[in-house]
Amino acid sequence: MTTRKNTKKPEVSGDELKEFYREMLLIRRFEEKAGQLYGMGLIGGFCHLYIGQEAVVVGLEAAMEDGDRRITSYRDHGHMIACGMDPKGVMAELTGREGGYSKGKGGSMHMFSKEKEFYGGHGIVGAQVPLGAGLAFAQKYTGGDRVTMTYFGEGAANQGQVYETFNMAALWKLPVIFVIENNRYAMGTSQARATSSKDIHTRGEAFGIPGEMVDGMDVLAVKEAGLRAVAHCRSGEGPYILEVMTYRYRGHSMSDPAKYRTRDEVQKMREEHDAIDHVRKLLIDGGFASEDDLKSVDKDVKDIINEAADFAKESPEPALEELWTDIYA
C-alpha cells in the first residue's frame, strides 16, 4: 500500500503563488473578521474558525476542476471561500440574515451552494463522510470523471460511519477523496488521547484504499498530493485518502479557551510553519512579487472582507414566514 512522503518541491509559477497567497489571505481575513463580529455580538452561537488551516483547501482546490464537488464539516468557511462562494453570502449566514446562503436558517455550520458544487457545511462530526461517497456515486452513475473531495477531521476519523463508507467506496470504486484534515485536536482532546494509531492515512489499507500523509502547512505539497489523488480517482481506481497535517490557531469554537495545549505550541506553529508566511517568502525570495505587490493584494482582500462584513450587518433579518418555508411535513 502506498504511503508516500513528499520529497521534491514542484515547479510553480509566480502567478499561481500569488493566487495561493491571495486565497489563503482572503480566508484568514474573513475568519478574523468573523471573530470580530462574534465578539461584537453580531454572530451568535457556534463559530469554528479555520485560521491556520488555509493551505489545505486552497491547495486541494488548485487540484480540482469544474464539476468536481466538495463537502465538509462545521469548520466550513474556508472551504466555501476557496471554492468561490461569495464572502458576503457566507458572512451574512453567520450573522443570520436574509442575504446568507441559507437565508439565516442554517448558520455557520450549515450552508450550501449548488452553483459552486459545495454540499455543506454539516454540524455532526463525521456525518458528511457517507454523503461524500453518495455524491461520488452519483458522479460515477451519471458518467464522466468528476470527483468529490470529502473533508473531515482526525477526530471524525473515529466515527463508525467513516469505515462503513470506506468499505462501500472501495467496493464500488467511487471517485471520492477522503481528506482528513488532521489539526491534532478533536475539540479539547489531542489525537494521542483518543486515537489508537498515529497514522490515520493507513486506515484505508484494510479496504484497499491507498493513502498518504501530506504537509498541510505547505500549499504546494497539498496541491501535488491533491493532483495524485484526483488522477487516481479520475482513472476509475476508486477512493483515495489524504491525511493532511495542519493546525488550527484558534480554539475549537469561539467558546474554547484552548487550555489543552500550550501557548508556546501555538506560537511555534504560527512563527515557524505558517502557510501564508511560507508562500509570502516564496514570492519575495523568488522575485515573483515585491512587498508593494503584496501590500496591494492585502488591501484588495481587506476591501472584499469589509464589504462582506458591511453586507452581513446591513442585510435584513429573515422575514417571519421564513421559519415555515421549506417545511413539507
Binding site: N158, G160, G188, A194, K259, P318, L323, I327
Partner: protein, 337 residues
C-alpha cells in the same frame, strides 16, 4: 448548603457517586483531560484517575455499546454524549441493547447505565446543537428519562439515576447550566447564585425518579412542563395574572401521573409545554393521559405549547422557541372555555 450552578451540582453528584462506589466510571468525548465541553466533569480525572474518568474517541455508537457491556458486567458507567444532537449514531445501542437487556435476559442481566446529554436550545446552536429528543427515549420501552430544571434537582436526580439498576437517559437543559432562563431573551440573565434552587445540599441525597414537583400552586389551571420550560412557564404565569399551578415533571418516565391528575382534577384546565417539536412530542402523551384520567373534570380541551414542527433555525431561534408570549396566549385560550 452551598450555592451552585447546575454544572457544579452535576459535578458534585459525580464526585459523590465516584467516591462512594468504585464501580462508577465516567466516560465520553472530552470528559477527562479537558473536563467536558460544559465543564460538568472537570476535576474528575485528576481526582479519580484516568481509569475512572476517561476520554473516548468521537464514536457515539462505540461509546454507548461499550458502556452497555461494562454495565452488564457490573460496572456503573456514566456516559456523557457531548450534545443530545450527537446521540443518533448511538441510538441503536441505546434502543436495541441498553433498553432491552433486562427483558430479554429474563432479569439475569441489568444495565445500570446513565447517559447524560445536554439538551435543548437557547444558545444559537442551530439545528445540530439545539434539539430536544426526549420523546425518542420515552417511546422506547426500557428507558427512564430525566430532565432536571435546577441545580438542586440535577444533583439529586443524577445520584438517583446512578443508583438505579436500569438505563437512565439524563437530559440536561444546556440553557439552564449557568442560570434559570425565563424565555425573555432581551432581559439580563440571572445566575443560579441569585435563585433559591441554586441552594444545593452538601453530601448525598437522592431526588426520586418518578416524583414531580409543584413549583407554583394555583387554582385555575394546570401547566405541566419540564426542563428549561419550567422557568418560562413561571414567567408567563406571573405575567398572565391567572392563578395557574405549574408542575415540573422532573422525570418523564417514570411519570408521576398522581400529581398531574390531582392537579387537573382540581383546576379543570390543562396546558402542556415543551421545547421539542409538537407532533408526536411528549406533550401528546400527557394530553392523552390527562383526558383519560381527568376527562370528567375538564372544563376545556387540553392545550399543548411546543416548538414549531420545523428544524431548529439559526437566526429565528426566538420565533421557534415557545416563549412566555405563546404560553400566555394558551393560558388566555384555556381560560376562555
Amino acid at each position: 448548603m452551598a450555592r451552585m450552578t447546575m454544572i457544579e451540582a452535576i459535578r458534585d453528584a459525580h464526585m459523590i457517586a465516584m467516591e462512594e462506589d468504585d464501580t462508577v466510571v465516567v466516560m465520553g468525548e472530552d470528559v477527562g483531560y479537558f473536563g467536558g465541553v460544559f465543564r460538568c466533569t472537570a476535576g474528575l480525572q485528576k481526582k479519580f484517575g484516568v481509569e475512572r474518568c476517561f476520554d473516548t474517541p468521537i464514536s457515539e455508537l462505540g461509546i454507548v455499546g461499550t458502556a452497555v457491556g461494562m454495565a452488564a458486567y457490573g460496572l456503573k458507567p456514566v456516559v456523557e454524549i457531548q450534545f443530545a444532537d450527537y446521540m443518533y449514531p448511538g441510538y441503536d445501542q441505546i434502543v436495541s441493547e441498553a433498553a432491552r437487556l433486562r427483558y430479554r435476559s429474563a432479569g439475569e442481566f441489568t444495565c445500570p447505565l446513565v447517559i447524560r446529554m445536554p439538551t435543548g436550545g437557547g444558545i444559537f446552536g442551530a439545528q445540530t446543537h439545539s434539539q430536544s429528543p426526549e420523546a425518542l427515549f420515552t417511546h422506547v420501552a426500557g428507558l427512564k428519562t430525566v430532565v432536571p430544571s435546577n441545580p438542586a434537582d440535577a444533583k439529586g436526580l443524577l445520584l438517583a439515576a446512578i443508583a438505579d439498576p436500569d438505563p437512565v437517559i439524563f437530559l440536561e437543559p444546556k440553557r439552564l447550566y449557568n442560570g434559570p432562563y425565563d424565555g425573555y431573551h432581551d432581559r439580563p440573565s440571572v445566575p443560579w447564585s441569585k435563585h433559591p434552587d441554586g441552594e444545593v445540599e452538601a453530601g448525598r441525597y437522592e431526588t426520586p425518579l418518578g416524583k414531580a414537583r409543584v413549583v407554583r400552586e394555583g387554582a385555575d389551571a394546570t401547566l405541566i412542563t419540564y426542563g428549561t420550560m419550567v422557568h418560562v412557564a413561571l414567567a408567563a404565569v406571573e405575567d398572565s395574572g391567572v392563578d395557574v399551578e405549574v408542575i415540573d415533571l422532573r422525570t418523564l418516565l417514570p411519570l408521576d401521573m398522581d400529581t398531574i391528575a390531582a392537579s387537573v382534577n382540581r383546576t379543570g384546565r390543562c396546558i402542556v409545554l415543551h421545547e421539542a417539536t409538537l407532533t408526536s412530542g411528549y406533550g401528546a402523551e400527557i394530553a392523552a393521559l390527562v383526558q383519560q384520567d381527568c376527562f370528567y373534570s375538564l372544563e376545556a380541551p387540553v392545550l399543548r405549547v411546543a416548538g414549531w414542527d420545523t428544524p431548529y433555525p439559526h437566526a429565528q431561534e426566538w420565533d421557534y422557541f415557545p416563549g412566555p408570549a405563546r404560553v400566555r396566549r394558551a393560558i388566555d385560550t384555556v381560560m376562555k372555555e
